[in-house]
C-alpha cells in the first residue's frame, strides 16, 4: 500500500469523526490539527519522503483508532476523571483520554504522541506549543459501571508512566540482569513490579487485592512475577518496610528527575453514607483515589454479612455488588460534576 494512499484513508476517517457531535472541544481540536498536518503532507507529494509519510501514516492511523473509541457515549467517565487526576504529577504534558469498551477481560492504556513526530519530521506544519498526548483506555464492557473492578486501570497507568519516563529502561541500564538471566523476562518482571507499586500509590491495598482475586496462586511466568511476590512487594511498600525493589525504583525515579513512589491517597470514611445507601461526598484528590480501597473493603465486608439498613438477607451478592459499585461511581461522578460546575463562568 503506498504510504500516501494510507494517509488519504486515515484523513477521510478523521473527517467523518470530526463531523460527529459527540466529541469534546479538545478532541475536535486534536482531530482538526491532525487533519491539518495530513493536508500539509499530502498537498505537495515531493515535500516529504516516503519514509516520513509511511511513519506518519502509521502514527495518524493509530491516533484515528483511538479517537474513534470515544464516540460510543458509553464511556466510564468516572475512571477517566480519576486517571486524569493522577497523570499531572508524572508528566507535564496535557493528556487527552478516550475510552473503548472491549469485549474481552483485559484493561489497557495505550498512548500515542503524533505531535512529537510532526514537530520533528513534518516541520513545515507549525504546531506551535500544541502537544497533547492521546491515550486510549480499554475497559471491558461488563465493567463499565463497576469502578471498583476498574482498579487495574491504575496498574496500566503505571505502565504508561514507566514508558513515558523510561523508568525500567533506566533500571536495566544501571542494574543490568545478572549473567544467565533472560533480559526480556527481567524487563517484564520489573515493569510489572513498577506498575503494581504505581497502582498502590493510589489504590492502596485494593490494588493487590484485585490481583489476588483475579490470579491468587499464579506462579512466575516469562511476563509476570508470581502473585505472592508481587503482593509482598506492595505490602512492604505500603507498610513502610524496606524493600530492595522499591528502593531501586526510587533511585531510578530520582535520577530521572521524576517524583517518587508514595501513598497519594487517604481513605474516606464511607461507611456512614454507604450504610444509608447514599454516595460519599468527596472533597479531595486523596479521597478520590482512596475511595477505591474504602469501597473495596466495604464491599468485601458487606458480602461477608456486615449489617446495614439496606443489605437485608434476601439481597443477593449481585445486588450488593451493584449497590456498592453504583454508590462509588456516583461519589466520583458528584465530585467531577461539582468541579465542572464550580469552574463554569458565572454570567
Amino acid at each position: 500500500m503506498r504510504p500516501r494512499i494510507d494517509l488519504h484513508l486515515v484523513r477521510e476517517n478523521l473527517r467523518q469523526l470530526d463531523e460527529t457531535t459527540y466529541f469534546s472541544e479538545k478532541l475536535h481540536t486534536f482531530t482538526k490539527k491532525l487533519i491539518g498536518a495530513i493536508d500539509h503532507v499530502l498537498a505537495v507529494p515531493s515535500r516529504y519522503s516516503d519514509d516520513v509519510v509511511r511513519v506518519f501514516a502509521d502514527v495518524a492511523r493509530i491516533s484515528q483508532t483511538y479517537l474513534a473509541g470515544s464516540t460510543t457515549k458509553e464511556a466510564p467517565y468516572e475512571m477517566e476523571y480519576c486517571l486524569r487526576a493522577a497523570i499531572p504529577r508524572w508528566t507535564g504534558r496535557e493528556t487527552l483520554i478516550t475510552t473503548a469498551l472491549t469485549s474481552g477481560q483485559d484493561f489497557h492504556l495505550l498512548p500515542i504522541d503524533p505531535w512529537n513526530f510532526v514537530a520533528t519530521a513534518v516541520s513545515g506544519y507549525q504546531v506551535g506549543a500544541y502537544s497533547p498526548l492521546l491515550v486510549l483506555i480499554g475497559v471491558p464492557r461488563i465493567y463499565r459501571h463497576k469502578p471498583i473492578y476498574c482498579i487495574p486501570l491504575y496498574h496500566e497507568l503505571g505502565h504508561f508512566i514507566d514508558e513515558t519516563l523510561g523508568v525500567i529502561r533506566y533500571s536495566l541500564f544501571v542494574n543490568p540482569p545478572p549473567p544467565g538471566y533472560d533480559h526480556e523476562v527481567v524487563q517484564s518482571h520489573r515493569q510489572e513490579f513498577f506498575a503494581d507499586l504505581f497502582a498502590a500509590c493510589y489504590c492502596g491495598h485494593a490494588s493487590i487485592r484485585t490481583l489476588q482475586t483475579i490470579a491468587p496462586h499464579n506462579p512466575a511466568t516469562p511476563t509476570h512475577p508470581a502473585t505472592a511476590d508481587r503482593a509482598r512487594v506492595v505490602e512492604e511498600f505500603l507498610g513502610g518496610i524496606q524493600n530492595d525493589i522499591v528502593d531501586h525504583f526510587q533511585s531510578c525515579l530520582a535520577a530521572l528527575g521524576a517524583p517518587n513512589l508514595m501513598p497519594l491517597y487517604s481513605l474516606p470514611s464511607i461507611a456512614q453514607s454507604y450504610d444509608d445507601m447514599r454516595p460519599f461526598t468527596l472533597t479531595s484528590r486523596e479521597h478520590l483515589h482512596g475511595i477505591f480501597e474504602s469501597s473495596w473493603n466495604y464491599l468485601s465486608e458487606t458480602l461477608d454479612g456486615r449489617p446495614s439498613s439496606w443489605a437485608i438477607p434476601s439481597l443477593s451478592d449481585g445486588d450488593i455488588e451493584r449497590v456498592v459499585n453504583d454508590l462509588t461511581e456516583k461519589s466520583i461522578r458528584n465530585m467531577s460534576i461539582k468541579e465542572r460546575w464550580d469552574s463554569g463562568i458565572t454570567p
Binding site: 469534546s24 457515549k73 458509553e74 464511556a75 467517565y77 459501571h145 444509608d276 445507601m277 447514599r278 454516595p279 461526598t281 439498613s309 439496606w310 437485608i312 434476601s314 439481597l315 445486588d319 451493584r322 449497590v323 453504583d326 454508590l327 461511581e329 456516583k330 461522578r333 458528584n334 460534576i337 461539582k338 465542572r340 460546575w341 463554569g344
Partner: protein, 206 residues
C-alpha cells in the same frame, strides 16, 4: 399530609437520621424554593429505539419475549451537553441529584413550567425513604424536537410529610429501583401479580 416549605426543607437538609433529607450534589442553594426543589437533568439516558417487534411484551412466558432493555439504547452526556428530545419519543433520564428522602416524606416530581410549555411533560411520584437518582420518563408531546441541556433545572419536586415513618429500606421486600444512579428500564415483567394473572387467563381459556 403537609407540604414542606423552605424552612422545613432546609432544616431536614442539615439534619441526620431518618428525618434527614439528602440531595447530592446540591449545586446551588437557589434550587430550594418556597415549596419546591429544582432538580437537574442528569447525564445518562436510555433512548427508545424501533425494533422488529410489534409491541413491548411484559410477559416473560411469551415465546417472543425480549428483555425491556433491548428496546432502549444507553447514551451518556457531560454537563452542558445538549440532548434532543424528538416528537413522540420516550427517553428515560435521571436527575443529577441523588436523593435521600426522609422515611416520612414522599415527593411529587413534575417538569418545571418552562419545559412543560415546550411540550416536555413529567409527572412522577417518589416513595418515602427513596434512595437514588430519580428516573424520569421524558416525552415530547409537540411536533417539534426540543433541545434540553444536561445539568439544567428541568424538574421540580414538591415534598409532602405523611406524618409517620415508612419502611423503604428495611422492609422485607426490596424495592425494584433502589439505589439507582442512572435511569433504569421498566421492571414491569418482574411484577409477581403478572404470573398470577397469566394463570387466571389460562384457566379461563382452557
Amino acid at each position: 399530609m403537609e407540604l414542606l416549605h423552605r424552612e422545613e426543607i432546609e432544616r431536614r437538609l442539615g439534619s441526620s437520621g431518618g428525618q434527614a433529607l439528602h440531595i447530592e450534589p446540591l449545586l446551588e442553594l437557589s434550587q430550594i424554593g418556597e415549596v419546591t426543589i429544582d432538580l437537574r437533568l442528569g447525564t445518562e439516558f436510555l433512548v427508545s429505539i424501533l425494533t422488529r417487534k410489534a409491541y413491548i411484551s411484559v410477559h416473560k412466558s411469551d415465546q417472543d419475549y425480549r428483555g425491556i432493555s433491548s428496546y432502549f439504547r444507553p447514551t451518556r452526556r457531560e454537563l452542558g451537553d445538549r440532548f434532543i428530545l424528538f416528537p413522540n419519543q420516550i427517553v428515560l433520564a435521571s436527575t443529577i441529584e441523588y436523593l435521600g428522602l426522609p422515611d416520612d416524606v414522599y415527593a411529587d416530581v413534575l417538569s418545571r413550567s418552562s419545559y412543560t410549555r415546550l411540550g416536555v411533560d413529567v409527572n412522577t411520584m417518589v416513595q418515602p425513604g427513596f434512595r437514588g437518582c430519580l428516573s424520569v420518563e421524558l416525552f415530547n408531546h409537540v411536533n417539534t424536537p426540543v433541545e434540553l441541556v444536561v445539568g439544567s433545572r428541568v424538574f421540580q419536586a414538591r415534598l409532602f410529610s405523611v406524618g409517620r415513618e415508612t419502611l423503604y429500606n428495611s422492609g422485607p421486600n426490596r424495592r425494584k429501583y433502589f439505589g439507582a444512579v442512572r435511569p433504569a428500564v421498566s421492571r414491569a415483567p418482574d411484577d409477581s401479580d403478572l404470573i398470577k394473572l397469566e394463570a387466571i387467563r389460562e384457566r379461563r381459556s382452557s
